[in-house]
Amino acid sequence: MAMLEIDDLRVAFPRGKTEEIEALRGVSLRLEKGERLGVVGESGAGKSMLAFSILNLIAEPGRVSEGAVRFMGENLLDMSERQIRGIRGNRISMIFQDPMVTLNPVLTIGTQMIETLQAHRRISRREAHRLSVEKLKMVAIPSAETRMDAYPHELSGGLRQRVVIAIALLTDPELIIADEPTTALDVTIQAEIMALILKLCRENDVALILITHDLGVVAEVTQKLMIMYAGKCVEAGETRAIIDAPNHPYTAGLLKALPQNAEPGQKLYQIPGSMPPITNLPRGCPYHPRCSRASDECRAAMPEIIDGVACYHPLQSVEEIA
């Protein structure tokens, strides 16, 4: 049994009075204990939607309309609010994108850590305080003891994200979902924070779902990879294998667009066009208007995902589209 199994997950938002529109259109994935998965796609592809729907935290008026999220064999979506609260922040933690707005501005760091522990463990305040300081030290926050009384605005962005990571680790979770954890940070500390997350996951044998738009980061951190486009998974498999030999033209395009893959002196490659908004998808494969390999078949119907790729004309290697 896999630790996490997501099956045909769909998220819908109401449009107008009667219509609904799907933002996540049937995504499946499997994650083993201690495994690290990268979810990559452009903004609006449904990555964050996927992250939030795992813990059933889709913001109103959206809702998970179909599918299952099985964690240790139990479907989180069938759980009562009380049951899923026992999972959230306890066995599955989240790290949000922007640490500037993730922490509550009117509560001290200490309060925000202690309340998390006390929500899940029957421990004294003193003990919770001690554990919190321990975790703050673990994420390398200087003078951790005094930071407990600090308010978020007294900390820099990098430190705040370390606090968020410490909160995520408080209860020794089995899985951490990190939604673009470095995007909002200063470029100089992005690598530092990413390295910290990787190190902590490895040391504590925590599984990770890393949501990002940066294939480069994924290559360094994760073992498995999933590429999303317009609310669907278009390619999934071993990170190494996909990066060495992408099968979906979109994945290939993303790889080609990486600065480290550009020829020196050449202009950076850019996939032509842009991702269609979820409210206005073309018929067939949503990528076909931007794809050089598109055929009538692609314009007619969405390809199923077979052997880890949803494409009628999968590539054999990067060279083919070059």
């Binding site: 939030f52 813990l55 935290l57 913001a59 109103e60 609010e81 609260r85 026992g86 999972i87 959230r88 922040g89 306890n90 933690s93 989240m94 949000f96 994108q97 922007d98 500037m100 707005v101 993730t102 922490l103 509550n104 501005p105 009117v106 509560l107 001290t108 309340e115 998390t116 929500a119 899940h120 308010y151 605005h153 968020v164 909160i167």
Partner: protein, 328 residues
């Protein structure tokens, strides 16, 4: 450091406001109030008048007179009421407890109702109770407070005869000379209709304000993060969301103090509540200039004091008192 700068700024602002108000008060006195009118009759000759004017300093330059006015005002001397033949400030302060208790009654009522109602409407956006409250609030906003007052007097005071509709009823004088209606049953009964009326106009404003702010904080990332941490719903709502809702509510609440004082004038008029507002309108009708000036200055002072308190409360509940313009 921030807090110190903040308090200095606040003090400067208070001084400016009081300065402007005193200037207004003085110009009224200078142009309207003729102190000779109360001192001497018609029979006094023009020469004697001029002499008196000199004696009283009424022919001094504007600035000299203003400084004298300010000096007296600081010592609590705001002139003598034409009608009551007593120091104007004393007359006003006698009426202060009545207005203060009316306002306290109203504030207790509208805060204890608007906070739960506002939170409820923000959380259950589409429930039918929310719809009723929101519809009620827009009707409430559209009914002038003096009509509510008349209706209250007519229904509960006259038709049903349940509650006394006029005056303050029995009061008890506290050792420091404060007349309170809080300590007698009759006084409390008299307080009900006026304070309900006064709160009725503030209630919808606060419900809408709290609802809007609460809805905004409920959508923030930190509230979502609090949920992702597995906290109980009550803690997410009341500790994480509501505490942040309080900040703008306190600010806007402080801005409503002027409105509240204006509404006390209307409420006191209908209920013949013997407070400062009622006294002020009588003073206007009698052209009792010193009393009008004294009222304006007392109201200005109340305004400044309340605003300072509100700002102070704001600094207490907001850990990041930021100076405007200083972006994080």
């Amino acid at each position: 450091m921030h807090i110190l700068a903040f308090l200095i700024r606040r003090a400067v602002q208070a001084v400016i406001v009081m300065f402007v108000i005193s200037l207004i008060g003085f110009s009224i006195q200078d142009n309207l109030g003729d102190p000779l009118r109360e001192l001497v009759g018609q029979s006094v000759s023009e020469a004697e008048r001029q002499e008196l004017r000199d004696q009283l300093g009424l022919n001094d330059p504007f600035l000299t007179q203003y400084i004298r006015f300010l000096g007296n005002a600081v010592q609590g001397d705001l002139g003598t009421s034409y009608f009551f033949k007593r120091p104007a400030l004393d007359v006003i302060m006698d009426k202060f407890p009545a207005t203060f208790e009316l306002v306290i009654g109203a504030v207790v009522i509208f805060l204890s109702l608007s906070i739960p109602a506002g939170i409820y409407c923000a959380i259950h956006r589409n429930s039918w109770i929310t719809r009723i409250i929101m519809t009620g609030s827009i009707i409430g906003i559209s009914v002038p407070v003096f009509l509510t007052a008349i209706f209250m007097v007519w229904l509960f005071g006259v038709e049903l005869g349940w509650l006394p509709a006029f005056g303050r009823g029995d009061t008890v004088t506290l050792p420091w000379g404060w007349d309170t209606g809080f300590l007698t049953l009759d006084g409390l009964k008299h307080l009900i209709l006026p304070s309900v009326t006064l709160s009725s106009i503030m209630l919808p404003l606060f419900i809408r304000l709290i609802r809007a702010e609460m809805m905004e904080t409920m959508g923030t990332d930190y509230v979502r993060f609090a949920r992702a941490k597995g906290l109980r719903t009550a803690r997410v709502r009341y500790v994480h969301a509501f505490r942040n809702t309080l900040l703008p509510v306190v600010t806007v609440g402080g801005l409503m103090i002027g409105t509240l004082i204006a509404y006390t004038i209307l409420t006191e008029t209908v209920f013949q509540w013997p407070g400062m507002g009622f006294l002020f309108l009588e003073a206007v009708n009698r052209t009792d200039t010193p009393l009008i000036i004294a009222y304006i200055i007392v109201v200005g002072l109340i305004f400044v004091v309340v605003n300072t308190i509100v700002d102070f409360v704001y600094t207490l509940i907001n850990p990041m008192v930021k100076l405007p313009g200083a972006k994080s």
